[in-house]
């Protein structure tokens, strides 16, 4: 795969820190870059999970991770970002 694709993926990943649309775009790029549907779904889910774990790390650095984990909406946050990334990755069907 060309370095341009990786650059594009990098920009998309960074943008997902600033807007949820970045999660969708990253998921779609992962889908297009994957060799199969199975891998597209797995990698996009792992991306969403990694993003959420980095976010938890940030909350830990702010001293509120324990409190955040007692907060139901943090898990809805994981569920929503995973679903949007996985559904976006399945756009590889256009490939």
């Amino acid at each position: 795969m060309s370095s341009a694709k990786y650059a594009l993926l990098g920009v998309a990943v960074i943008s997902s820190f600033f807007h949820w649309a970045g999660i969708a775009v990253t998921g779609a790029i992962i889908g297009f870059m994957s060799r199969s549907y199975k891998r597209a779904i797995l990698y996009s889910f792992l991306f969403a999970l990694a993003l959420w774990l980095v976010f938890l790390g940030y909350l830990a650095a702010m001293g509120v991770a324990e409190k955040a984990l007692s907060f139901p909406l943090i898990y809805i946050s994981l569920a929503l970002s995973s679903v949007i990334a996985v559904v976006s990755s399945s756009l590889r069907a256009f490939k």
Binding site: F17, H19, W20, A24, L59, L73, L80, I84, L91
Partner: protein
């Protein structure tokens, strides 16, 4: 293959359409709900201000310009407590149902009819051209700068609305709310209903400090449904406070010392917001209510001050002779001033706009329910000057300057204790106290007045207008003490006989006051006091109530069976301290509840709720054979000992049924957030608690207010020694659930521990300018 791609695309579009707003709110990092820090360099049109957030989230403001400071305080309070600020102005404006729906419509009707907004507007009229007016404007601009430029607190997102811009009138509305919460008491009407239901024999339960016989019941068509309605919105019942001040003659440092803990509702976030201001090198630190930019209780470089509520009767009710739509007033038929106000009610299908008729007579707001109509005069319904008073307190440098502030304090009248670095101490119950005249004689205000005859009017008072106060107790005549050796207040009667200030139901039981004086007398007689002594006093859980009431139970000891005796023996060996680990405290507390309920069964039979019951001190002093101990449902004539025994049996059953082992199993802290009925995560953790409503270490397990059950207790503990000072609030300074300062003081507070209360600048730095 490409056609197949349309399926996930359609699914993605559907997902975004349905859940886009949730993604906006909850996406990791970018979700609007994750308000964690915010910008640290901020604009301020009035100049530079530095803000340091310390380890407890207390902001320390450093400024050289007052308007710049007010702007920064507005911004920072909004950052930490915007939802709470908006919620309270909505309560007072009657705008809750617009956001929270039909359940709050009755509350909105009451607050619209009382027209607190008009009272705040008239107060603003008197302030807007003053220096304080400029500061209120700058404070509001700071709040609005936050609303316009930052993520809103998560409560707004969960409730689905944006707050309107803040106005100076909103700050004054918050002040009116505090005043109403401490003085808006419908006791006069309840008293009339008790007399109607139980007859004049009930008067012995509610002694008047004046003993005037104007209190004879007259049938007025007063109904309980009216009282049930207004009761939901009146002052919080039984809430009090402690403060005391000790002269340097009795302290180890030789400087005076002061302690204060006001008892208010315990909420998440707390009712108080702590802050420190350094203006041109002068410090003032303490607590305020979110929405108010000045310190209400605190200390500065020169002095410290603390409040307890006086509880005086500053509200009266007037009935009229009506002819259709007109009321008779001193021989003239007048039409009430009328205004149609609108309430927007959130419904399933959108919004419903309803009209409320707001009426006023010459005396005040006219309220009506189920055919009973009465006008309400309240000292807060006029241009009051608490904002000017607080400003003077904050920046006073000596006792003379502080007294200038006291003169401006109108409502709620407060028992102010004061100490300064020069060694002065003071006690002054500052506020406006009305004098009622009927037929040329001063009378008590605990009755309904004949408004048509002009009875009981307050000279110099104009509801919803500008008052001149000449018919009120002159400031100099208010009983006070300059440089007392020591003095303690706990909402007990003032011991002032010249004018009526309220009957026994306006003032609280004297038990905390007794215990404070008992401790002060013991300590000053045996040693020089230190900060640690004051901490021990604030942590004191010894029950004077138990000391006085347990002998009633022990009278019945010979008639107890073996099981009862084993429980009674535990009480005999108990140290009378309401400690969470104590079994004696558990047994006593549950027995006392049953003893009161069993004594006053006649009240319940007459449909009168527990809030109509007399003070405990009155019950304590009833003779053993008093008619109130007789259960009218039985052929026998019961006395105090019979009722004590019966209550004890019920208490043991309750303890065993619930499996309680110690007081903390029953007496639990459970502080709730306004959203607690919808989601539980905002609530503070549940903790076993020591103390009760009559101990100095104060905790009310259950308080009915505005139709909901709350807990109440020491809402701020402060000890000032002009050396090492200490404080704590029940929860945390931040209203942001995800902040480390959301509930970081809760354990300290529940265990009677403290944090440092100093002027040292430290922590995260924000810069305005």
């Amino acid at each position: 293959m490409r056609k197949i791609g349309l399926i996930p695309l359609v699914f993605l579009i559907l997902l975004v359409y349905l859940f886009g707003s949730y993604l906006n709110m909850l996406a990791p990092f970018s979700g609007t709900i994750w308000v964690l820090d915010g910008k640290k360099e901020l604009d301020n049109p009035y100049g530079k201000v530095e803000v340091y957030y310390d380890e407890y989230g207390v902001p320390h403001f450093v400024a050289s310009d007052e308007k710049a400071l007010a702007f920064a305080v507005g911004y920072i309070q909004a950052k930490d407590r915007l939802f709470q600020m908006d919620l309270h102005r909505r309560i007072m404006k009657g705008e809750l149902s617009e956001v929270f729906g039909e359940d709050f419509y009755e509350s909105d009707v009451f607050y619209k009819k009382m027209d607190f907004l008009k009272a705040a507007e008239i107060t603003w009229e008197g302030l807007k051209d003053t220096h304080i007016g400029e500061l209120l404007e700058a404070y509001s601009e700071g709040v609005n700068y936050y609303i316009e430029t930052e993520k809103l607190p998560m409560e707004f997102q969960l409730a689905g609305y944006r707050p309107e811009n803040w106005k100076p009138v909103d700050t004054l509305l918050i002040a009116k709310e505090i005043a109403w919460g401490l003085t808006g008491d419908f006791w006069d009407l309840k008293r009339a209903l008790i007399l109607e239901k139980l007859g004049e024999k009930a008067l012995e339960l509610y002694p008047s400090s004046l003993g005037h016989n104007y209190t004879t019941f007259r049938p007025l068509g007063l109904n309980k449904s009216f009282l049930d309605w207004v009761s939901g919105f009146e002052a919080e019942k039984g809430l009090g406070s402690n403060n005391w001040v000790v002269s340097g003659k009795f302290t180890e440092s030789g400087k005076p010392m002061l302690a204060n803990d006001p008892h208010l509702l315990l909420t998440a976030p707390p009712v108080w917001y702590e802050m420190h201001i350094n203006l041109n090198g002068s410090n003032v630190r303490g607590v305020t209510f979110p929405g108010i930019g000045m310190i209400i209780i605190g200390k500065n470089d020169f002095l410290a001050w603390g409040f307890t509520n006086v509880g005086a009767d500053v509200i009266d009710f007037y009935y009229y002779v009506w002819d259709g739509d007109k009321y008779l007033y001193k021989g003239q038929w007048l039409e009430p001033e009328k205004e149609i106000k609108k309430i927007r009610v959130k419904t399933v299908g959108g919004f419903d706009e309803r009209e409320v008729l707001v009426e006023k007579t010459v005396h005040g707001a006219l309220i009506e329910k189920d055919g009973f109509r009465v006008a309400v005069a309240w000292t807060g319904f006029t241009n009051t000057t608490e904002a000017l008073a607080l400003y003077k307190y904050n920046y006073a440098r000596n006792i003379e300057e502080f007294i200038e502030g006291l003169k401006l304090f109108c409502v709620p009248a407060q028992n102010v204790v004061y100490a300064d670095v020069y060694g002065n101490t003071m006690y002054y119950p500052a506020g406006k106290y009305p004098i009622r005249i009927v037929d040329g004689k001063e009378v008590a205000g605990n009755v309904l007045f004949n408004g048509s005859a002009g009875e009981g009017e307050w000279r110099g008072f104009k509801a919803f207008g500008f008052s001149t106060w000449e018919g009120f107790i002159p400031f100099e005549e208010i009983p006070h003490a300059i440089n007392p050796d020591y003095i303690g207040t706990a909402n007990q009667e003032l011991g002032y006989g010249k004018h009526y200030l309220g009957d026994s139901m306006y003032f609280l039981d004297p038990y905390r006051g007794m215990r404070i004086y008992e401790m002060l007398e013991e300590l000053t007689a045996s040693k020089k006091l230190t900060v640690e002594d004051f901490m021990i006093m604030q942590r004191d859980t010894k029950s004077k109530v138990a000391e006085f009431f347990l002998p009633f139970l022990f009278e019945a000891y010979p008639r107890m069976d073996e099981k009862m005796k084993s429980y009674a023996d535990k009480l005999k060996n108990w140290d009378l301290r309401m400690e969470k680990e104590s079994e004696g405290a558990l047994i006593f507390s549950i027995w006392l509840d049953h003893f009161i309920n069993e004594t006053f069964d006649e009240f319940y039979s007459a449909g009168l709720d527990p809030e109509y019951l007399p003070r405990l001190y009155v019950v304590q002093n009833l003779p053993p054979e008093s008619q109130w101990f007789d259960d009218k449902r039985t052929p026998e004539v019961e006395n105090r000992s019979d009722i004590a025994l019966r209550a004890f049996k019920l208490a043991i059953e309750e303890i065993e049924k619930n499996g309680y082992k110690k007081y903390g199993d029953f007496n639990r802290l459970n502080i709730q957030h306004p959203f607690s009925k919808v989601v539980g995560f905002f609530n503070y953790p549940e903790i076993p608690m020591s103390g009760d409503e009559w101990t100095v270490f104060n905790f009310h397990r259950s308080v009915n207010y505005s139709g909901s059950v709350y807990q109440a207790g020491s809402s701020w503990r402060m000890i000032v020694s002009f050396g090492d000072d200490y404080c704590v609030i029940p929860g945390g300074n931040s209203g942001n659930f995800l902040s480390r300062n959301y509930d970081d003081q809760l354990r300290l507070w529940s265990e009677g521990k403290y944090k440092k209360y100093d002027f040292k600048l430290r922590g995260d730095r924000f810069v305005f300018g």
